[in-house]
């Protein structure tokens, strides 16, 4: 009896390992960042809708882009606010731009397709934009601007659901260090999945 239980437990552990490994390998491939430079806008990635896990924008003339092993974006829904955070490099220093939308509460990433072909006014009363750099977080006073979710699609690979891809553009004007600055030519192409969507 004891041996049967032991064998069953080992089998369950073994099968679980296999399942976890197979799930990890498929996510791993789609989690790679594919940075193809836009020759019209040096330093920024091309606009794409492939789930290349990249983003980029100019803050005045300097680029703020996704980089390295850091997830380019995370979505945190808690408890009644949707937070989209872009993590990248600005002035060679890690920086994060967060867009928070109060009242929008997707409970899982496939629901993000509701954003397909939609535009959010960043100056709206339920929208907060913050910039974190060098350990300091600044709530940005938006002069004008928007974020466009040009295409949001649910991605299936070999007929199995894999990720949700958010692709779009962003541009706005705000103040940094009491000086007006323009964030221009912003584009993003992000794969959202189990590893970077949080609802709690």
């Amino acid at each position: 009896m004891k041996n049967i239980i032991k064998i069953s437990c080992l089998s369950i552990v073994f099968i679980s390992c296999l399942l976890i490994t197979s799930c990890s390998s498929s996510d791993f491939e789609l989690s790679k960042s594919v940075f193809i430079e836009d020759y019209d806008f040096p330093g920024l990635p091309v606009y794409s809708e492939w789930g290349y896990n990249t983003f980029g924008m100019y803050i005045d003339r300097r680029s703020f882009i996704s980089y390295g092993d850091v997830y380019p974006a995370k979505i945190i829904v808690n408890p009644d606010t949707f937070n989209l955070t872009f993590n990248g490099l600005y002035n060679n220093i890690p920086a994060s731009l967060r867009i928070s939308i109060k009242g929008y509460v997707p409970t899982d990433y496939p629901e993000l397709v509701e954003l397909n072909d939609s535009t959010l006014d960043l100056k709206a009363s339920n929208c907060i934009v913050t910039l974190k750099q060098g350990g300091y977080t600044t709530k940005l006073n938006i002069i004008q601007g928007n974020i466009k979710f040009k295409r949001v699609q649910n991605l299936y690979v070999d007929k199995e659901f894999a990720k949700t891809i958010l692709s779009g553009t962003i541009e706005f004007k705000t103040f940094l260090n009491n000086e007006p600055v323009a964030i221009t030519n912003g584009r993003f192409d992000l794969g959202i999945g189990y590893e970077n969507f949080y609802y709690y």
Binding site: K32, V34, G68, N116, Q153, L155, Y156, V157, D158, K159
Partner: protein, 253 residues
Amino acid sequence: MKSLKNFVLLLIMLSSTYLSAQKLDNFIVSINYGTKGLTAELSEVWPIRQDVGSYYDGFNSNVNLGSWLNYAGVSPEFSFFNKKLSISPGLRFTNLNAEIVKSDYYKEGYYFLRVNSDGITTNYARVKAIREETNYLGVPLEVKFTPFYFSYISFHVKLSAELAYKIYSSTDIEFKHADMENYQNEVLNDLSIGVNNVYSSVYASMGARFSLGDKMFCSLDVFLPAFYMTKNNSSLVNINNISGAQFSLDIPF
């Protein structure tokens, strides 16, 4: 470029017409085999996710492009003006291959091919390789000038044109998972994959003919990059340049 091609074709046709009125010095049947290496870029027709030929953050995104062309044919050669000038029509079978293979193919590497997309739903398939083969049957025409003749070797330059028609074409997608094989026809239909029914090129070459003794010769020609080549002879790759070599066995009559 089109006017240059037309000029060269006209030149060859006029030469043929003129030479056919001259006294024939020599008649040789040539059996030839040639190979051409092609430089290529990925065609934009195929919606492949990963960038071709790149490493990103240490991850292997490399996909190897390959393209090559082989042909075999027979050409009667008619010589004039004391064998200085000759003209060769002929019959030629051409085989054109192209492939896109993941660089770690033998380690089960794969890339993603977008199968279809309709707004908010997109389907990718994991693909290890895509291979395409096209066969053409056609007529080459060569005008050869041989300025130097020695006992066992002669040197020549050629101007050649060829026109061929597609007799066979197939594209094969090697999916990572056998379950997706049923998707192949749907993918190819959705992408409207097709190759040009006509293959034509104009090119120059230089070479040498060697005597093998007792009325037998062999020739070796090296092609210069083609002046002109038809487009879309492969749906996988855009062919940018072309060069190669030809070996011939020449039997005089």
